[in-house]
């Protein structure tokens, strides 16, 4: 089995890697590039824990082959914060306690960032449907949705709501 050489951009950095044809982008991120922030929850594109942004679109990295990253620009959860400056979505997740075990959180952070990159003022319903591809078993989604809506307000320059119920 000879490997394929792939050239891509991940979190703003040029990256090259070797992978086998059948390795998914998730396999490559986790096992070849040591970017273990993206998680495997199902391997079949149903849970969203592996969400990354590829050329501006949220995708399940378990449904993308490693070789398909050629020439693309990929953002993983590791690329959402800027150094030690958290993205508003990340900060609001913390303030609203929008995570319990934290396993689904990377996928939600990436998906929520992609939502707010595209829609600066989503409604609760739009937010819920956008995030319907990310499964969470711990939170019941309530605090996640509040955190995303609050982050949107911050990004619009408005006064954020208080996290206390």
């Amino acid at each position: 089995m000879s490997k394929h050489h792939v050239t891509t951009v991940i979190n703003g950095e040029p990256v090259e890697f070797l992978c086998e044809a059948q390795q998914t982008l998730l396999d490559v991120l986790r096992d070849e590039l040591n970017l273990t922030g993206s998680k495997e929850g199902c391997g079949s594109g149903d849970c969203g824990a592996c969400s990354v942004i590829a050329d501006g679109k949220v995708v399940c990295s378990c449904l993308m082959l490693g070789v398909e990253a050629e020439g693309k620009s990929i953002t993983t959860v590791e690329g959402v914060a800027q150094g030690d400056k958290l993205h508003p979505v990340q900060q609001k997740f913390l303030e609203h306690a929008a995570l319990q075990c934290g396993f689904c959180t990377p996928g939600f952070i990436v998906a929520a960032k992609a939502l707010l990159d595209e829609n600066k003022n989503p409604t609760e319903e739009e937010t819920r449907y956008w995030l319907a591809g990310n499964l969470c078993r711990c939170t019941g989604y309530d605090k996640i949705v509040r955190a995303v809506l609050d982050a949107a307000a911050v990004m619009r320059g408005e006064n954020p709501r208080s996290p206390a119920a």
Partner: protein
């Protein structure tokens, strides 16, 4: 010093950001599958394709010939766990059965049962090697349904199983491992004096805990047996103990490190992979990593049982219930130990029944061995009883909430299982429901409202904790409980409160089995209670040490020192006039005043307070599609004291959501061969964000005086009421009573169609 008065608290009850939060929102936190060890091999499991089969032979020749394969194992590589060694410490698991579940001996007892395993230099080679392992099976008849498994002539899973709790002792083997029974008063007399008696039968399907993180571990066994286990679990001490017993190693030779855990809900209170990875590592001489696929998680772990619950209630016209009877038959899966006893107890616990009888059957069948799932047994038992209470209310013409107000448990009520309630919050949950905005909100067409209550006893048990004052005055608290839902923040908050320092100065650590004393698992809603008790006691001991050190510095008696707001003060003018000493000052001089400043505490916590809840659910039913939409949900629960309110709300919202999934869409679907048809999240449908509204929570604080801060366990009660709350709401919306879970669209459509059919002559 009493911390029960909320008004005096400065940290407990606030909502700081959890200390492990930044790692989790940036992807830095390390879960079970995130570990890599040098020289690591990948392990994979060969699983039975048959629901019930004798394993005639296993041939590894072809697999071993594949380059890259370094070790293979089967059941014969593991020691026999004799009945006298089936239990370790106070842990509940039967390790003889667990060992035979982890890898089959002689018989495969369910589709997916592990039969062999292989370790190879890459995942791809390990996968290939599985196909090269040749297993010869003799397929046996299988049985899946509870009542079919109980019937005469059913295929028997274990020839050495004779039903316990039955007199005279049976001589023929059975799939019923035990019958349990609790009684109060005289039910026959109670039913005789009732004005109305109703009898109903409810059925449920197995559901999985549904944690998003599949099981994963890396195990490294040295040539001398010194072992490191990295795994995500609900208890690193459990991992250590269970692995040691299953592989035949000394406990002291195993260091179990708790990875961050991506959900458990009870399903990770036992082991599946660690003993297999241990044996593969021992044989190959290299670390072995094993990660389950989602399909394996469904085929071979958990679930919560499917069940049949038959409930009979008798009442006077005025609503007083004179007798209650419940018969519960729970699937245990391939080995004994469904939580049927808890189902019996908890279903009835919410009420003051003058006469009651509950009987439970633990029934084996060719399904994966059931595992704990959030208040194990209680959600099913309460689904039956709370639905039947609703049906009784309908029959009597009494409002469902009123029926509970008339019959609900109070302080002094004696429950069917013999406990007398003291200091419980159930009545307050009913009062809060009565007073709620939700109850008054108007409903539109095809909309309905349902109410249900629930109970869980919560647990205490063994916990250890250590509090250290560092040389710069910051504090480290080490505890032994994997943090599933934010508990380490609460530990740090309680320590900060006792020491009188800001939360940010206290750093909690979940230690591995070599870093802290024995701690029982994260489960039973016990961590904030028992772990919290341990960290509080350790912090209190540190305060005594700090006072002694101040006394040394000031050269006065320790009795003349008091501790207040994070500083040592002279106690009164007679003690002398000294500047207060803070933690940084005392910490910096620790070597000169006596040595490191530290305390470690080991306890077996008693006095856990039970939890009660009442839930209100509004639904809208689409008569054309049978789809049920949750419009509004309010969960009311007595939580004792909410140490960190956001995480208590989170437990309530999460449990409610699991209950909604159990009610409406989650189920295992098996084909006629006993093979699972929906082992994935596409067809095993758990609730998603677009299914739900915001979930409102009302936390009632009836402090538990046996805990320094008044805490009660909160995590499990929220899963107990939702199924009946949803079912009762569907009845209120449509007039149709569904008694079979899940209440999925095809079932509602069938009920609508049946209702529309003209009645046959009666």
């Amino acid at each position: 010093m009493s911390y029960l008065d909320k008004a005096t608290l400065k940290v407990v009850g606030t909502r700081p950001i959890r200390p492990d939060g930044v790692d989790k929102v940036t992807g830095r936190a390390n879960f079970g599958a995130d570990m890599v060890m040098p020289g690591m091999l990948w392990g994979r499991i060969k699983r039975s394709p048959h629901a019930h089969a004798r394993i005639v032979s296993i041939n590894f020749d072809k697999a071993l010939a594949l380059p890259g394969v370094k070790a293979v194992i089967a059941g014969g590589d593991f020691p026999e766990v004799t009945p006298d060694r089936a239990h370790v410490g106070a842990a509940p698991a039967n390790l003889r059965d667990l060992s035979r579940n982890v890898i089959a001996r002689g018989k495969a007892l369910y589709e997916g049962h592990a039969v062999a395993a292989v370790a190879a230099t890459s995942q791809a080679i390990a996968e290939q090697a599985l196909d090269l392992i040749e297993v010869e099976y003799q397929v046996l008849p299988h049985v899946m349904d509870v009542e079919a498994a109980m019937a005469d002539g059913a295929p028997i899973l274990h020839d050495d199983m004779f039903t316990a709790g039955v007199e005279p002792k049976p001589t023929k083997p059975s799939n019923v491992s035990k019958v349990v029974r609790f009684a109060k008063g005289d039910v026959e007399a109670g039913f005789a004096e009732a004005d109305i008696v109703i009898e109903r039968r409810y059925t449920t399907q197995p559901v999985h805990q549904g944690y998003i993180e599949p099981h994963a571990c890396v195990v490294s066994v040295g040539a001398d047996g010194q072992t490191t286990i990295w795994s995500s679990s609900q208890g690193q001490f459990m991992v250590r103990a269970y692995t040691s017993r299953i592989v035949g190693a000394d406990i002291a030779n195993i260091r179990a490190i708790p990875a961050e855990i991506g959900g458990g809900f009870g399903g990770k209170t036992i082991v599946y992979l660690e003993p297999l990875a241990y044996m593969l590592s021992k044989k190959s001489g290299r670390p072995v990593k094993m990660v389950m696929s989602r399909e394996e998680v469904f085929r071979a772990t958990g679930p919560a049982p499917g069940a049949i619950v038959e409930v009979k209630l008798g009442a006077k016209k005025d609503g007083h219930i004179t007798a209650a009877q419940s018969i519960l038959k729970y699937q245990a899966g391939a080995f004994q130990g469904s939580p049927v006893q808890q189902g019996c107890i908890c279903g009835l616990a919410v009420y003051d029944f003058p006469n009651a009888l509950t009987v439970g059957y633990d029934v084996l069948s060719n399904r994966p061995k059931t595992a704990a799932y959030r208040a194990p047994g209680a959600p099913i038992g309460s689904y039956g009883v709370e639905s039947c209470i609703d049906e009784l209310a309908e029959a009597l013409g009494i409002e469902p909430l009123k029926l509970r107000e008339i019959n609900g448990a109070k302080d002094g009520t004696k429950a069917t299982h013999g406990v007398t309630w003291n200091n419980i919050g159930y009545q307050k949950t009913l009062e809060a429901a009565r007073a709620s905005e939700h109850l008054k909100a108007p409903l539109g067409p095809n909309q309905g409202r349902g109410i249900a209550s629930g109970y869980w006893h919560n647990a205490g048990g063994e916990s250890s904790a250590a509090v250290h004052v560092n040389e710069d005055g910051t504090v480290t608290v080490t505890e032994g409980h994997p943090d599933i839902g934010g508990s380490r923040a609460s530990m740090a908050m309680m320590v900060a409160e006792v020491l009188g320092v800001p939360f940010e100065n206290v750093r909690p650590v979940v230690g591995d089995t070599t870093s802290i004393g024995f701690s029982a698992s994260t489960g039973g809603s016990r961590v904030t209670f028992a772990g919290g008790m341990a960290v509080t006691q350790a912090a209190q001991k540190v305060v005594e040490v700090l006072k002694q050190r101040a006394a040394v510095i000031w050269d006065i008696s320790p009795e003349a020192v008091e501790w207040r707001d994070g500083k040592a003060y002279p106690a009164g003018a007679n003690a002398g006039s000294f500047e207060p000493l803070d933690l940084a000052t005392i910490g910096n001089r620790s070597a000169r005043t006596g040595g490191p400043i530290s305390a470690e505490v080991q306890i077996n916590a008693q006095g856990q307070g039970p939890g009660f809840a009442t839930h209100i659910c509004d639904v809208e039913v689409d008569r054309e599609t049978g789809h049920v939409k949750i419009l509004r949900y309010t969960a009311i629960q007595d939580v004792g004291r909410a140490i960190h309110p956001s995480y208590v709300e989170g437990q309530m919202q999460g449990g409610v959501t699991q209950g909604i999934g159990w009610a409406l869409s989650e189920e295992y679907i098996y084909d006629k061969n006993g093979c699972l048809e929906n082992p994935g999240f596409l067809d095993y449908r758990i609730p998603v964000a677009s299914d739900l509204p915001m979930i409102d929570t009302i936390m009632i604080e009836v402090p538990n005086p046996r805990h320094p801060f008044g805490a009660r366990g909160v995590g499990e009660v929220p899963l107990v009421p939702p199924m009946a709350a949803v079912a009762n709401a569907i009845f209120n919306a449509t007039g149709m009573r569904l008694r079979d879970l899940p209440m999925s669209p095809p079932k509602l459509r069938a009920a609508f169609d049946a209702a529309a059919l003209p009645r046959a002559a009666e």
